[in-house]
């Protein structure tokens, strides 16, 4: 009789101990702050591109319209800001001018202080007295065939227009206005587009539009040529008055 009792007591003790392990715990207190940590939302590139002081993107803000009041008449062209007071355009846009008048994308007049032209390429540098709204970056390298290209300018002297296309390749300048090769793109351009910036997908300048071929393609002075001439202090000479 003693052995079964002892076994019963031991079993009871074991059952008691085991039951303590299986009993549910008391609930924890409910947290006072249940707001989860949320990552800061970020704008996608398309949305961030819309962020500007006035709703115009950087591509539009850097473009200017150039009116060449010449001794023999009137002509218009395009250009783009290189920095706060420097414009890049074509030599033939500013040639034979009595005065140059520059307008921004929003119609503001920008006074011109000086202009100079390059002898070895159809390029010109125009200095302004007023600050320009925005300036793009120059691309690090010339684009490969097939790369996307956008041209922003004032075709036919009309409204600010952005056209798109692709780089087709390179060719020697059929107009003999530029040393070295020039880019050929299928981005539509018109007279008045001369001096427009040709941009890559990131909005960096890959060249300067200077001509249109008979089959509707556009010819572009590559950014490498522009860089070389800008680094050469003697490449640009003051524009003579007509």
């Amino acid at each position: 009789m003693r052995a079964p009792l002892r076994a019963g007591v031991v079993a009871a003790a074991v059952a008691l101990a085991a039951s303590c392990g299986t009993l549910p715990d008391m609930p924890p207190p409910v947290p006072a702050d249940l707001v989860p940590t949320v990552a800061v939302p970020s704008l996608d590139p398309e949305e961030s591109a819309r962020l500007s002081p006035d709703g115009f993107d950087a591509v539009q803000r850097m473009a200017v319209r150039i009116r060449n009041v010449g001794c023999q008449g009137l002509s218009t062209g395009s250009g783009f800001a290189l920095d706060a007071t420097t414009l890049i355009t074509n030599r033939h846009v500013v040639a034979d001018s009595e005065s140059l008048q520059v307008n921004t994308y929003d119609g503001r007049d920008i006074d011109v202080s000086a202009a100079s032209t390059a002898a070895l390429a159809d390029l010109a540098v125009v200095r302004t007295e007023d600050e320009l709204p925005s300036a793009p970056e120059l691309a690090e390298a010339d684009p490969e065939p097939g790369a996307s290209v956008s041209v922003v300018g004032y075709p036919s002297g009309g409204a600010l227009t952005v056209t798109a296309g692709e780089v087709i390749g390179t060719t020697t300048d059929p107009l003999n206005e530029n040393l070295g090769e020039v880019l050929v793109t299928d981005a539509p351009v018109e007279p008045g587009s001369s001096g427009s910036a040709a941009l890559d997908e990131a909005g960096r300048v890959i060249g300067v539009v200077y001509a249109k071929t008979t089959d509707g393609r556009s010819l572009v002075v590559p950014q490498s040529t522009l860089r070389e001439l800008l680094e050469d202090t003697s490449a640009f000479t003051p524009l003579p008055a007509c």
Binding site: L5, P27, V69, Q101, A159
Partner: protein, 196 residues
């Protein structure tokens, strides 16, 4: 299996074997006491466990109720924020449409201003051209008048030829011819300019 073999015993008095006093009864009583104690302890443990479980159940019920309340509160906040977000999104869409319209309008106005500027410059250049043409016409008219006047003067000299030195008359005639040639040439240039 084998069936038990029946055995025969002689009839006689039956002797019962009684347990020895003081040995079997205390042992059974102690066992019952231990069993009673064990059962009592088990009962106490069971009661305690039941009480604990009761309290735990109550606590978990309260806990669940608090969570439900929190969930309800946050659900209401989410609903309110969703409504607010929908409103802000609608305002943003409207603002973007207005911004697009405004930028298009600004571009159109900038273009109109540029075209007016071109027309203004072209008009100014045309006026300058007209002024230059008028000035040139005046110069030509003056030259032709001087030519005519000189020719009249030469005719007068020739009508009274004896009164003048022939060499002087010839020289004067050559000067008049040169003056009239210049006037005629200027007039031709003017006519060519006007015909363009």
């Amino acid at each position: 299996m084998t069936s038990p073999t029946p055995s025969w015993e002689a009839a006689g008095p039956v002797h019962r074997t009684e347990p020895a006093p003081g040995r079997g009864t205390p042992r059974r009583g102690r066992g019952w006491r231990v069993a009673t104690i064990v059962l009592a302890v088990a009962l106490v443990v069971a009661v305690a466990t039941a009480g604990y479980l009761w309290q735990t159940t109550d606590a978990w019920e309260d806990h669940a109720a608090e969570w439900e309340g929190e969930a309800q509160r946050y659900a209401e906040q989410v609903a309110a924020l969703q409504v607010e977000l929908d409103g802000v999104t609608a305002e943003l869409v409207a603002a973007r449409e207005q911004l697009d319209t405004a930028t298009e309008r600004i571009t159109a106005l900038a273009d109109e201003k540029a075209q007016l500027g071109d027309e203004n410059v072209a008009s100014q250049q045309y006026l300058d051209y007209q002024r230059r043409v008028s000035e040139a016409a005046g110069v030509v008219a003056t030259a032709l008048g001087q030519c005519t006047q000189a020719q009249f003067q030469l005719i007068g000299y020739l009508e009274n030829r004896e009164a003048y030195d022939p060499a002087d008359l010839e020289r004067f005639g050559e000067d008049v011819q040169a003056l009239c040639d210049e006037a005629t040439e200027a007039n031709d240039q003017l006519q060519q300019e006007l015909s363009r």
